[in-house]
Amino acid sequence: MSDFRKLKDRIAVVGVGNTSYGNFPHTDDYGLGAEAFRRAIADCGLDKNKVDGLGVCRLPYYARMGEILGLAPRWTVQFPPHGRMSAMAIIEAAAALEAGLCDYAALIYANIGRSRRVNYGGEESPGVWDPFGFTSPGAAHALMFQRHRALYGTTTRQLAEVSVAFRHHAGLNPDAVMKQPITIDDHEAARPITEPLRLLDYCLINDGAVCLILTTKERARDLKQQPVLISGFGAREAYRQSSIANFDLNFWYDEVRDVAAQTYGMAGVGPQDVDALMCYDNFSPTVLFSLEGLGFCGQGESGSFVEGGTLRLGGKLPTNTDGGHLSCSYMQGWALNVEAVRQIRGQCGERQVKDAEVVQFVAATPCSRSIIYTPG
């Protein structure tokens, strides 16, 4: 009889790499992915020919990526180009490493949505609600936030705290795309996209790539960097309302509660121990929903919880210290996991959280996931 919690502190992230973020029409997905991999290999000092596990996400063809990098793995997984895949892939890789399906796993994510002019709605993603004019993940989050407002009195000024805090962090991150500081009033005055959400509630669309290299704790000792251990994780899907994509009538509360119980239980810590949170933020409301599900506050209390700079560096719960999807880069959770690793290593410069020892990633989505990272 096996138990996923046996994976506690067994697997380490040993190498991380990312490209710069922006608009790169001169290259393609593979070029970006190769650059991120090259940097992650340099980061950990591993002979790249020892990489025998390959997971790719948002890249067109795993075999072409493998050819470009000169890899002959014995474990390959291709993840669909959905934002929720980052922690799913990391957990899959951890299980594969523990089972001995591979010794060193490289996970590569590349996004060239900016240069391709991706819209994330309309004819690109036909759906059952199109005749009524309903489309796009942002609109699903607008539906949820409108309901959260009505049920709990959450305000758009409270929601603005999320975007304002992350933009502040982006200003401290040389890699971030959007560095110009914003205020709550700027958020309130921004162009509405799908009301009640405005431009500053929406993630960026930019090009870039991210790579993480994982191995077992024992093998990690022979590499260049301090290992960062995966100490806890949890998972729960909510498929029952999937015909309205990216939507849940109860804000994925029950699922994230379940994920929190699994993750904190496995790691042996609680919300009060978390030094920094990396929160999937395709749209700002999901940060509020994540905070409630993880138990940083009660359901319906996230609006007042984030008031007054709670999520900023120096605040009670520094969150998305790289600027997140809203202001750093739309790397769909992948860059946030890299940021978690760098915070544990103490490599974050001006945006470093002092003595960060417990850093948590969370994604409240139809496939909710969380991972807790600690120093090895």
């Binding site: 059952v128 009524f132 009505a150």
Partner: protein, 134 residues
């Protein structure tokens, strides 16, 4: 290049729903074996996996669960209607539907207010179930 408003995607499962709508009847898919009701249609019942299901008429009554207002046209066909509303309706019988509010602006309503279906013809082939305050 101008694109028209998107039309419903009609297949062997959804055909019954759109046929009924054209006749002014709102339906949801009901399992012949366990009576589970859901929308949109599915090839098997999500509750018991039966492949015997029918489009069953519902009351047309529901409540407003949420709403949004689009300020961006993802299809050219909606450009002239910006900013337009989309509402989330909880049908009395359980299933959720997205639609448009007619006969009022959603700002004038509260979450939980009662709604009633009201059919609006797109053209001869297609009628959309919309909702107005009850």
């Amino acid at each position: 290049m101008s694109t028209p408003k998107p039309r419903p995607h009609i297949d062997t499962i959804s055909q019954g729903f759109w046929d009924a709508a054209r006749e002014g009847r709102l339906t949801v898919q009901r399992c012949d074996d366990c009576a589970h009701q859901h929308y949109p249609g599915t090839p098997v019942c999500p509750n018991c996996l039966s492949d015997k299901q029918s489009w069953a008429p519902v009351s047309g009554r529901g409540t407003l669960l949420s709403w949004v207002r689009f300020h961006r046209a993802y299809w050219d066909g909606f450009r002239d209607e910006l900013p337009y509303n989309v509402i989330l309706v909880g049908l009395e019988e359980g299933p959720l539907m997205l639609s448009n509010l007619i006969g009022a602006e959603p700002e004038a309503l509260k979450i939980g207010d009662p709604l009633q279906v009201s059919f609006e013809a797109m053209d001869e082939a297609t009628t959309l179930p919309k909702f107005r305050p009850a």
